[in-house]
């Protein structure tokens, strides 16, 4: 009986995330059973493995995992749409549940921060609009983007908002870094943009101000974890 290589590892550790732990453990169990049943590694690795760890076996691993009641966090809309039974339903906090700080001397309430992509001489003021679905983008494409729209976008890719991006006055993106695709695109278009943002208490139609006069976040700041953020305010 041959012990699989991964069962002897001086510096081993468990992976960090639940799906990785579960799937990799289950795959290793398949490998271990095969080896314990007298498998030969060299015959297995680029040969028998394709029958042992095949699509059916991997599907069975997923089925067993989902039977525990676990539901995945989705990121692409299509994944949740096509297989809603496998994914968590996203709960969004309503604004009444969020406690915001009092207004500052300029009558603004601090609602969040982000990483500034390009430093402009002035802050950017406009009207907040969450852009989340391709249906929404399609209607913006057909009806036009209202003037002064500051788009609040969840993902750091540029494709969801691709056809309408250039018409936004500003972009607040909840993910990514200043070097992400959306950051690159906004830089090309000269659109004020904050990446890696966190906002709370902003609703569609609110007048918001992005602190685009703040310094742009540098690669060094990311690497060394230096705090370098720009503020996002709501005007009250």
């Amino acid at each position: 009986m041959v012990k699989p290589f991964f069962d002897t590892d001086k510096y081993t550790r468990e992976p960090a995330s639940p799906t990785v732990i579960a799937f990799h453990k289950a795959i290793k169990d398949l490998v271990r059973s095969h080896m314990e049943a007298g498998g030969n590694w060299n015959a297995f690795v680029f040969g028998e493995q394709e029958n042992v760890v095949n699509a059916d076996a991997l599907q069975a691993i997923e089925d067993a995992f989902l039977k525990t009641g676990y539901r995945y966090q989705g990121s692409a809309m299509i994944s949740i749409e096509e297989e809603p039974e496998k994914y968590q339903i996203l709960a969004t906090a309503t604004n009444s549940e969020i406690k915001l700080p009092p207004p500052d001397a300029n009558g603004r309430i601090l609602c969040g921060t982000g990483d500034n992509v390009v430093q402009f001489s002035e802050n950017t003021v406009g009207t907040a609009l969450y852009v989340r679905t391709s249906e929404q983008v399609l209607s913006l494409l057909e009806d036009g983007v209202p003037d002064n729209t500051i788009a609040i976008i969840d993902d750091s890719g540029g494709t969801l908002t691709a056809p309408v991006l250039e018409y936004f006055k500003g972009v607040v993106c909840m993910g990514g870094t200043v070097r992400s695709h959306l950051g690159i695109l906004c830089r090309e278009y000269g659109i004020p943009c904050l990446m890696n943002s966190g906002v709370a208490g902003i609703e569609d139609g609110d007048a918001v101000e992005m602190e685009t006069s703040a310094a742009a976040k540098t690669a060094e700041a990311y690497q060394k974890n230096i705090e370098m953020t720009a503020n996002i305010w709501k005007q009250c």
Partner: protein
């Protein structure tokens, strides 16, 4: 079994693996793991890595049956296709090593499995990289301190001589910037939310305060990706290269992912000259596109912008209708095929090799949900928290100082015990959920079917890559530039150059023809701003330019939304005014800095006050203490005023001469003032202050407006 791999080879392989190791961590740490609302990006990335693991070694071997890696590297230096950074520079080894580590983390292979594949792939990478980087002598941008100076002098000279100067606000600048933004976005969409269709190389020194960055935009038309069939048919170029010169902006970082950083920040206003080229494996290097004049180039950018915008909208709608499986496939195929252009250069591209998913990768699809994709990728290349990525506790990884290693080394024990496997084996049949490829392949020789494309590629060698020239490197040129052979090499590259055709090898930077000043566009806009609303011939007359040039410039400005056409005349729009306001400080920097010019302007203002009084006296009479309109019935009174105008003109001339000495075209006002004065003296009294003719006052007023704009002053009245 006999080991074909030596200790020295294995040492080198592990070193190359480690180089990718350190740099991959650095590249990943400044970006968060990619997530998208549209595409399941991390999930398709994992699928693509697995495809890479099982197919690259064999496909690379197939490529080398036609052309060696280092020979392809020679070709790669001469065109903007996907054989550069990030494609070969990082993706080829990066994807393969990530796949290997991923499979190790699942317990499906050991670090000593597929060793010959690994040694071969890293060696292919090394040979291509060293050849591609031949002129700067490095293996990667990382090794060069994040820089890539790929191009030879002969091509950089052509760029310097042929690019067109532009300034923020002029129509070329505006059109070029708009196009780079639109095409970048189009590229992210084509490539399923990834940046692999964009490349940046450089920087190159272009004088004291200028640097060149070469920007490539690839796979824009119908070609390898079946999803471009029908949506990109009208895009006339598959690859475009925009060499871009910036002023007062230093690119201190250009990495192996082809991203750049600069100090101060790169902004559109830093760009001071641009060009446009296309290239592919069938072209003699970079072929100019719309490069006969600045106006033609601006128009080309405007037209391409529209074409790409339309293709973008069509593609976006197509993608919005895809199923998750189609999105997974398109993304995985895009990533996997990032090095496919190697096969095009070698003329051995086959659709099934590059656009189908190998069964050994396909089997993993059931576990590739969004969350697993995100977390598994994050653990592999971010937190490195897989068991196989941990090493002894005294270790300090570069950048992170943690006892981790993104990519496992091959154990040297295999040299003693022979316990390893050589290769993952032959390519297996693949599948795809994408629609079948129906369109043709856009090349610099038109739309081709694949067989012709491959055949032409196999039969073609660009002149500068021919046996006669391929080893005549920069070092050889240094000591042999005065030979007929060097001239021949330079002339081969210069064939399609507007300014350097036939010039040969002897030129240095100082010998290049001076760049023409920023195109006439801005001056035409400036002329229109003075005339307010007028036709091209009137604007041309005031500026002393050709009517056709002004007409072309104003038409381009109409396309750029800077000028409107109202009742057959041109009129400046607010955007045109804003463009001028932005451009004036640089446009007239010399005049604003000239003490003589500014002093002359101040004297002009004094004369101006006198002229205003004189015109008032011309238009009105003082009768019994009150001013009444001059009905010009008192000839003596009028002659007296015209005499005064003659005297004033004599005083003005000394000022006007100084102004015209500094800015020649201002001399046209002096001529026109003299004509108006003479006509007034000859009895055509309308030429003193008439508003409908080029009267003395009209011309004077326009000159005043011109001077105020030149110096950035407000009219004080």
């Amino acid at each position: 079994m006999t080991l074909p791999i030596t200790y020295a080879q294995l040492l080198e392989t592990n070193n190359l693996v480690q180089a990718c190791n350190d740099e991959s961590y650095w590249l990943c740490v400044t970006r968060t793991v990619q997530e998208s609302k549209l595409f399941p990006v991390p999930a398709y990335m994992l699928l693509s890595y697995l495809m890479v693991y099982y197919r690259y070694p064999e496909l690379l071997r197939k490529i080398e049956t036609s052309m060696r890696a280092e020979d392809i590297g020679d070709r790669s230096r001469n065109m903007g296709i996907k054989t550069q950074a990030s494609h070969i520079a990082w993706c080829m080894p990066g994807f393969y090593l990530l796949a290997r580590e991923y499979l190790i983390s699942m317990g499906l292979i050991r670090p000593q499995d597929g060793v010959e594949d690994l040694v071969y792939l890293m060696d292919f990478w090394k040979r291509h990289q060293l050849s591609w980087h031949r002129n700067d002598g490095h293996i990667s941008n990382k090794e060069f301190g994040h820089r890539s100076q790929i191009l030879p002098e002969r091509l950089l000279q052509i760029f310097e001589a042929d690019l067109f100067e532009c300034r923020q606000g002029d129509s070329l600048h505006e059109a070029a910037m708009k196009f780079t933004a639109t095409v970048s976005q189009y590229i992210f969409l084509i490539h399923c939310e990834s940046r692999i269709g964009l490349a940046n190389t450089g920087p190159y020194k272009f004088g004291d305060n200028r640097e060149l960055l070469v920007r490539d935009f690839m796979d824009l038309s119908e070609g390898d990706y079946p999803w471009m069939d029908g949506v990109a048919t009208d895009v006339p170029y598959n690859n475009l290269t925009i060499p871009m010169v910036v002023e007062d902006c230093h690119f201190y970082l250009v990495d192996d992912w082809a991203s750049f950083e600069s100090e101060p920040e790169f902004k559109a206003e830093k760009v001071v000259s641009v060009g446009l080229y296309t290239s592919d494996t069938l072209s003699e290097g970079y072929m100019p596109v719309g490069m006969d004049s600045a106006e033609e180039l601006a128009k080309t950018f405007v037209d391409l912008n529209e074409t790409v915008k339309e293709a973008s909208a069509k593609l976006w709608k197509r993608i919005a209708g895809w199923s998750r499986e189609e999105m997974m496939d398109a993304g995985a195929l895009t990533y996997f095929s990032v090095i496919k252009d190697l096969a095009h250069v070698a003329g051995v591209y086959e659709f099934d090799d590059w656009m189908t998913i190998d069964a050994r990768a396909e089997r993993f699809r059931p576990i590739l949900n969004d969350e697993y994709g995100r977390d598994c990728l994050g653990e592999l290349l971010g937190s490195m928290t897989n068991p196989n990525q941990q090493i002894n506790e005294y270790s300090m990884m570069q950048h992170s100082n943690l006892p981790q290693r993104m990519f496992s080394h091959v154990p040297y024990s295999i040299l003693a015990d022979g316990d390893f496997t050589a290769t993952c084996g032959r390519t297996q049949a693949g599948t795809s959920h994408m629609s079948a490829k129906t369109g043709k392949y856009r090349t610099t020789r038109g739309l081709l079917d694949l067989d012709d494309y491959n055949r032409l590629a196999r039969d073609f060698t660009p002149k500068v890559c021919s046996d006669k020239f391929r080893f005549l490197d920069e070092n050889w040129v240094k000591y042999n530039y005065d030979t007929p052979l060097a001239d021949e090499l330079y002339r081969a590259e210069q064939e399609s150059s507007r300014n350097l055709q036939g010039k040969g090898a002897g030129l240095k930077r100082v010998d290049l023809p001076p760049s023409p000043p920023p195109s006439g566009d801005l001056l035409a806009l400036h002329g229109l701003a003075i005339k307010k609303m007028s036709t091209a011939d009137v604007v041309a007359d005031i500026l002393g330019l050709e009517v056709t040039d002004v007409s072309t410039a104003l038409e381009a400005a109409v396309a750029a939304q800077q000028v409107a056409i109202v009742r057959d005349a041109f009129m400046l729009k607010p955007a045109g005014q804003a463009a001028l306001d932005a451009a004036y400080p640089k446009m007239f920097a010399g005049l604003r800095a000239s003490e003589d010019f500014v002093a002359a302007y101040e004297r002009f203002e004094v004369v101006n006050n006198d002229l205003k009084q004189l015109i008032t006296d011309w238009q009105t009479l003082e009768i019994a203490g009150s001013r009444v309109p001059n009905d010009h019935s008192n000839k003596d009174y009028d002659d007296g005023i015209i005499d005064r105008l003659g005297t004033l003109h004599d005083r003005a001339e000394t000022v006007l001469d100084v102004l015209a000495l500094a800015e020649t075209r201002l001399g046209r006002y002096t001529d026109k003032l003299l004509v108006a004065l003479e006509k007034s003296e000859d009895g055509e009294t309308d030429f003193v202050s008439g508003a409908r003719v080029e009267s003395y006052h009209t011309v004077w007023f326009e000159l005043h407006e011109d001077l105020l704009r030149i110096l950035g002053q407000e009219r004080d009245e």
